[in-house]
Amino acid sequence: MVDPRVNVIEQRLKRITRIIAVSSGKGGVGKSMVATTLALSLVKLGYKAGLFDLDFTSPSTHIILGVEGLQPKEEKGLVPPVVHGLEYMSLVYYSGNKATPLRGTDTSNALIELLAVTLWSDLDYLVIDMPPGIGDAVLDLLRLVPRVEFLIVTTSSLLAFETVKKLSSLLRELNVSILGVVENMKMNDSSDVKWRTEMLGLKFLMGIPYDPKIEASIGNAEKLLETSFAQRVNSIAQRV
């Protein structure tokens, strides 16, 4: 027996120029915030962009964007709603705010299903908010979308950076493009992470200081884009 869905994924993504997975080895580094703000910044720069939340068990981009009461349109597939200029897709449309406990095979199946039935339009960029770690979602994405490029988010913590080493090493072994590393929630002027990143032969994209105003901007995209955090992410968007 053959699962037919896998064979249509390439066709579904062929109208997208670049696919950027925002990833991290550890949770709590602000990956969803970076992914959402990056996608919004790309729209602000005049690009056609989409955002796909692949963190099925703990999705949060819908909260950052303030998405409520929207559903994809059924039209020979699922057409993602446009939110603040972004084509936005998430499992949340179907799971609501309830817990969705998924094991590995379920995560893979949900990912394949959404990739197979979501009809993205002609996009310059599709930003994917990945779940933390090197789990099923990363492995499936590498298998199903081999041209994906990774942007790795870390904090100043050595513990977080340790996982950057593992993730980047896996991606390199598989010849996957790594756009660079973003150091988020910087608490001081230390250039330690920058130095460590360059020692790994990776590009250090930006150090983003901790912005206490960011919490108040959750759910309000316009307010989010006015923060100093967004200004930094905007300069990353101009360089990717």
Binding site: M1, D3, P4, R5, V8, E75, G77, Y94, T100, N109
Partner: protein, 194 residues
Amino acid sequence: MAQPYKVLLLFSSWWEVVFTKLLFMDEFHEDKGVFFVEVVFLFVCSTFFAICLIDPECFCIFMHEWALAEAVVTTAVQIAEKEGLTQVTEVTLKIGELQDVERPIFRFALSQLKPPNFKLAKFRLLKSKAKLKCRRCGNVWVFKKAKLNKETVEAIHFVPEVAHTYIKCPKCGSPDFEILEGRGIWLESIKGAK
């Protein structure tokens, strides 16, 4: 998941009957009252049919089953090429009850999407019951959509894995279960001539 397309199909069938009657009205009716009713009925049906032609999407016949049908046809074409089949005569699919695919739409989409070398192909759609097994207590049960509300059935229809959000083991209440069979669409076999 709305089903107005069924109304569309029904009306189209009626329209055909009325059209046939009108062609042979002299033979059927001499009563002008009946003739008038039929003409009005024909007008209503024709309008409906015209709307269908102008904007078929308003009757939801282009539902997300199309995307799944496209995946089936793409895969079937690849397999047929690999096996050197010049004419495909039969494609057998297993349709899991969990996803609750709308068969008439799915069949219609398959008929519209199939390439020329599938012209003679018959699509056999086999039903596969959704069997779930609790990972916590080992209980095995069969999914019954009748026990769920419309919104839940619809959510599972789009992404069957959200079943873990809404369905619990009837014995121990755990959402940690395995979908043993009957999840979605599987291509079981292809027959044809080389």
